[in-house]
């Protein structure tokens, strides 16, 4: 309990140093929380991308870095439809960067009568019926101020907006659907698609269907859920790994900051620790006091860093112009990890200064005044 003796008094009466140490920690924690939120959002978005929202399974070319680089022949579709356990299969061709007014919007080439497009719920207008038409997600429509009857250019081609839909999948609500042959023409992929969405029979289990498809079509990657999607996509994995690396870097930077500030504090307070030693505090007790101060300071830093991180994630996405792709996802676990990291920074960052404090020679320090 010695270490708990009046640590707040000490911190409160040295507000400048306490605030600086706390801010150093806050910066590290805010960075971690923001990166985790952005990475979480990116993973979630990537997962939606792969799992294709409403479909039961998404099929991609094996080893494709991401869905847009996958190439599959449409001749697979009738074969898939004949596969036991599969109720339907429909192609989906992803076009990126083709809407000049909204470069982040994804245009999906799809069969207007396929099961995916049948699930679009129109708030105005109707499903497209020709190659010169387009249906637009409600978020993209809001962004570009589009209404039914307006024209939207895709790859320079003027298309008439005939419907505005909502499906509840961020990528699709921020994108648009065109007829499959038009998408193939734009992408130069006649007879090909990037993706095939699969609907399973009512009694079919995804795991069993995955096994069957893997056996019959060895060149395909089969994705059943968002998490699996994130693991499967090289780019999504890259995002995830990069977030981890940056989080570790933030931890190191925050930790070094805390070590540095606390070490300065220990050097500055040598006579204080010498005095504690002289009046009978053991080395463990002196070290414990420094550690407790470190943890209390970093908890204060966490209290500042957590909300800054949450706000910073939105700011980061906005500054990067990535709000069309990524909505930061702040979870309780993400915040908990931020707090945990804060306490870890406090403990790890305080260990060396605590060791130094415990080794202060009372005779020398007190003689120097």
């Amino acid at each position: 309990m010695t270490a708990l003796f009046a640590p707040l008094s000490s911190l409160r009466r040295r507000p400048g140093r306490t605030l600086l140490t706390a801010l150093g920690t806050a910066l590290g924690i805010a960075t971690i929380v923001a990166l985790l939120a952005v990475a979480g959002g990116a993973e979630h978005a990537a997962g939606e991308f792969y799992s294709l929202g409403a479909s039961d399974l998404g099929l991609f070319q094996k080893a494709a870095a991401d869905p847009t680089t996958s190439v599959l022949s449409t001749t697979l579709i009738p074969k898939l439809r004949r596969t036991p356990g599969i109720a339907d299969a429909t192609p989906l061709l992803l076009l990126v960067g083709e809407v000049s007014r909204a470069p982040g919007a994804i245009v999906f080439g799809a069969d207007p009568s396929g099961f995916l497009t049948q699930r679009l719920v129109f708030s105005s207008g109707r499903m497209l019926t020709s190659r010169r038409q387009i249906v637009v997600g409600d978020q993209l429509a809001r962004q570009l101020h589009l209404a039914v009857g307006d024209t939207l250019r895709v790859h320079g081609r003027p298309l008439t907006v005939v419907g505005i839909y909502h499906i509840g999948v961020a990528y699709q609500d921020q994108g648009a659907f065109v007829d499959m042959p038009l998408a193939q023409s734009i992408a130069g992929m006649d007879g090909e698609t990037t993706t095939i969405a699969v609907k399973l029979g009512v009694t079919e289990r995804p795991a069993a269907a995955k096994r069957t498809i893997a056996q019959r079509f060895p060149g395909l990657t089969v994705i059943a859920d968002a998490q699996e999607a994130t693991r499967a996509g090289a780019n999504a994995q890259l995002v995830s790994n990069a977030a981890l690396v940056i989080a570790v870097l933030a931890l190191l930077i925050g930790g070094i900051g805390v070590i540095n500030t606390m070490l300065m504090s220990v050097v500055e307070r040598r006579s204080e620790f010498a005095l504690l030693s002289a009046v009978g505090w053991s080395r463990w007790q002196v070290a414990g006091r420094v550690l407790v101060e470190g943890v209390v300071t970093t908890v204060i830093g966490a209290a500042i860093g957590l909300p800054v991180g949450v706000l910073g994630a939105d700011w980061l996405v906005s500054e990067l112009g990535a709000q069309e792709f990524v909505a930061p996802r702040t979870t309780a676990w993400g915040l908990g990890r931020g707090l945990l990291v804060g306490v870890l920074i406090g403990v790890l960052g305080g260990l060396y200064p605590a060791w130094r404090a415990a080794r202060v020679s009372p005779a020398q320090a007190l003689a120097q005044g």
Partner: protein, 231 residues
């Protein structure tokens, strides 16, 4: 807690080639108030540090009560249970209140908070500062700070009180008050007190003196007059 007998035998402390204390031997009986005198650099502070286990002798032995101080593996415990220090610069922690400063040895000893507060207030009453328990050291005069330091030194009910130039930075009125407190500590608790000082008032209060010249004890027999040695 009665005072401790202090026995130093052939104590030497050297820092490399520099010998600060050279073959010092003496005995202090329980409850004695000893004046340790000598010019600056004669080794007074070093001797007090060795007696209080803040430092170790290069050779020789120091026995305080039943404890062989020169062989201690856990000096913190000895300091906590046996010794009280008063330093010239008082060394109060500026961020703690007067009461919290007095409680520091009790915190180390694991005394409960309520009991600590009670004893701190009692000790502050003994040094005439009961009404300043919540003040910060920065709000006190030099004399008041030194009285707080004495209260802190007595908090652990030490058998040996070591004071290094306790009145060195005080005026004569404040010094007189500090001397009275040290004498009272000896009389009230039976504590053995060793005071290093240049203060001429020390001679009036000490039972006898130990005098150091260039690290060697030149006088210190128990039948020597304190007046001539402490002057």
């Amino acid at each position: 807690m009665p005072g401790a007998r202090v026995i130093a035998e052939h104590v030497t402390r050297a820092y490399g080639a520099s010998v600060v204390l050279d073959d010092v031997s003496f005995v202090v009986e329980p409850g004695e108030l000893i004046a340790l005198t000598g010019a600056s650099g004669s080794g007074k502070t070093t001797l007090l540090q060795l007696l209080g286990s803040l430092d170790r002798p290069t050779s020789g032995s120091i026995i305080v009560g039943d404890t062989a101080v020169h062989r201690l593996s856990r000096p913190a415990r000895f300091r906590r249970e046996t010794v009280g220090f008063v330093f010239q610069l008082h060394h109060l922690l500026p961020t703690l209140t007067v009461s919290q400063n007095v409680q520091l040895p009790l915190v180390a000893a694991g005394v409960r908070r309520r009991e600590r507060s009670r004893r701190a207030l009692e000790l502050l009453g003994e040094v005439g500062l009961a009404d300043r328990d919540r003040a910060l050291p920065g709000d006190l005069s030099g004399g008041e700070r030194q009285r707080v330091a004495i209260a802190r030194a007595l908090a652990g009910e030490p058998q040996l009180l070591l004071a290094d130039e306790p009145t060195g930075a005080l005026d004569s009125v404040a010094s007189e008050r500090v001397w009275r407190l040290l004498v009272a500590a000896r009389e009230r608790h039976g504590t053995t007190v060793i005071v290093a000082s240049h203060d001429s008032m020390l001679a009036e209060h000490a039972d006898r003196g130990l005098s150091l010249v260039d690290g060697r004890l030149v006088s210190g027999s128990s039948d020597g007059g304190a007046g001539e040695e402490a002057a």
